[in-house]
């Protein structure tokens, strides 16, 4: 759980947590060691002091015992008043008979002493290896407790100051080292979102962080260059594709010789025109045009001349169309024209006559004038039918009838 929590922390907080934790552990370990040493030292000092008092007193008390001088013994014990730590003193003979005592008599009871956490030291009194008595001193631990209390106060203060210091240090380290990394991360995120590779990091750093920063900026510069190159390449490729698409579309919908819409596009537009006319109740005129004796041109003047003628015919027919009208080459020397009839243009006879007249002027084929006529069949939506195929058939039939009737004329479907 702690591991997961730490993993979720940002790097800055991780650094702070790491430094504070390491510092805290180090301080606690150091203070633990020092405390053990200090407690032992306090205990040692206390024991030493007590032992010195006891030894000094024992030498004099021994003499008092051997000379049975209770007054002198009592006088010696009374001198312990100067030693605040000594709460009770007792001198007894070798057979445990009280010789002299000093202080709180309730401490004469060993159980009381133990319960009250007093410190007792018993010194046997010898003369020439003969035990003549005992000196029992009872000390209170107040002095030791006070020393420990002062020590612990200092320890707590040191821990607190150390923690504050380590926290400030970690914040400084975090700002010094993590901030540039955080900035790099934020910048990388920003670049990912915006795709702007022109952004650069500018934080003042040194060492490995600066190297990382420089490499990152360098990488961004290279990425930006590559991005630009890629964009240019993609743009070029797109343009090429568009051109190809356009060519394909042209090939699919336009006649490669005359650049007029081909049969497919013509049929599509015818259907659209019929649908449009059906919606607003207008009419559509369908013209089927076939050049008269075009084969002779090919045979006599060659295919190039034939092609040139087809191109010039296309241009002349185009001039008769408005934006909304269509002229298409549907094969060989066959053309179709679609006219959306409206208030401006509604006289089909007039349109047909004008088209036929277009051919009264000779064409200039290979610097030679060439007169070419045509036969035109017309069907009208909805007059001659509602169906696309029906209208085509009727226009086609009318065109044949016009050819049979002597060519160079137009005929509006009669059926």
């Amino acid at each position: 759980m702690i591991k997961r929590f730490i993993h979720k922390l940002p790097i800055g907080q991780k650094i702070v947590a790491l430094i504070v934790t390491v510092s805290m552990f180090s301080i606690l370990i150091a203070i633990g060691g020092l405390s053990i040493n200090e407690f032992r030292e306090i205990d040692r000092r206390m024991t030493q002091e007590v032992t010195v008092i006891s030894d000094v007193l024992a030498t004099n008390i021994t003499a008092a015992i051997v000379f049975d001088d209770k007054d002198a013994a009592q006088e010696l014990l009374n001198a312990l008043k100067a030693k605040i730590a000594v709460e009770y003193a007792r001198v007894e003979s070798a057979d445990k008979v009280l010789f002299a005592h000093y202080g709180k008599e309730n401490l004469a009871n060993k159980d009381t002493v133990n319960e009250m956490s007093y410190y007792t030291i018993e010194t046997p009194l010898y003369v020439n290896q003969r035990r003549v008595g005992n000196l029992i001193l009872v000390f209170n631990n107040a002095q030791m407790s006070e020393s420990i209390r002062v020590y612990l106060t200092v320890v707590v203060a040191v821990i607190f100051i150390s923690l504050v210091f380590s926290f400030l240090l970690s914040v400084w380290v975090q700002r010094r080292f993590a901030a540039p990394i955080i900035e790099l991360a934020a910048m990388a995120e920003d670049i990912t979102k915006t795709g702007d590779y022109t952004i650069r990091t500018t934080a003042k750093t040194s060492g490995e962080i600066k190297l990382l920063q420089d490499l990152f900026n360098d990488m961004l510069a290279k990425t930006n260059d590559r991005e630009l190159a890629l964009e240019a390449l993609v743009s070029k490729r797109t343009q090429e594709l568009e051109t190809l698409n356009k060519q394909l579309e042209n090939q699919a919908h336009y006649d490669s010789l005359t650049m007029l819409p081909n049969r497919a596009l013509y049929e599509d537009r015818l259907q659209q025109s019929i649908a449009h006319a059906a919606r607003d109740g207008s009419r559509v005129a369908l013209f089927f045009i076939d050049l008269d004796k075009f084969k002779i041109v090919n045979d006599t003047l060659g295919h190039a001349a034939g092609d040139e003628l087809l191109c010039q015919v296309s241009r002349r027919l185009e001039k008769q169309c408005r934006q909304m009208d269509t002229v298409a080459r549907i094969g060989g020397d066959e053309f179709t024209m679609l006219f959306m009839l409206d208030d401006e243009l509604n006289d089909v006879n007039e349109i047909a006559r004008r088209i036929v007249e277009l051919f009264q002027i000779p064409f200039d084929i290979m610097d030679e004038p060439l007169l070419m006529t045509m036969s035109v069949g017309v069907s009208i939506y909805p007059t001659h039918g509602y169906d696309f195929d029906v209208l085509k058939v009727k226009a086609d039939n009318a065109m044949y009838q016009a050819k049979q009737a002597g060519r160079n004329q137009f005929l509006i479907s009669q059926t």
């Binding site: 004099n60 051997v66 002198a72 003369v127």
Partner: protein
Amino acid sequence: MSRYQHLVLALFFFLSFSQSANAAQVHEREYRIKAAFIANFIRYTHWKNTPQNSFRFCNIDNRVAGIFKQELEQETWFGLHSEFKLVTNTKALPCDILFVDKLSEQQWRELLSKEQSKGLLIVSETRGSSQSFSHINFFFSDNKLRFEINPQRLQSSDLSMSASLLRLARITASKEGNL
């Protein structure tokens, strides 16, 4: 003599006898205590020239010597066995310690030269003795046996004494011309 007179006489003799017997008992007890004290004096005293083969304990009075010997025969000082000597004149010296009883003091005060008292711890029991003759002198205070020590005399006799013992003693000083 009447019967009454005989009875009074008998009572007088009985009381006299019991009194003297009691006095002798008290006397012996006193010297036993003094023997114990002296044994401890030796422990707290330092001889410049440490006794070599045995510790020589000298007495003048035969009876006191007997008590002391009885009390201290088993004692050892400085790892040496004690040797009890009864001395009647200075020819019997040298000794390491000499107990001078009340009756003998005047005689020995005259006999003992300054040179002879070098390295000899003299213990007496006569009032004022430590000021002019002995190093340690017994006295009674509140029915308790006490002692006084003359450090000056100790020093002049090449002896020294533990502060612990000095602390228990009444310290005396030599009279002029009596070091």
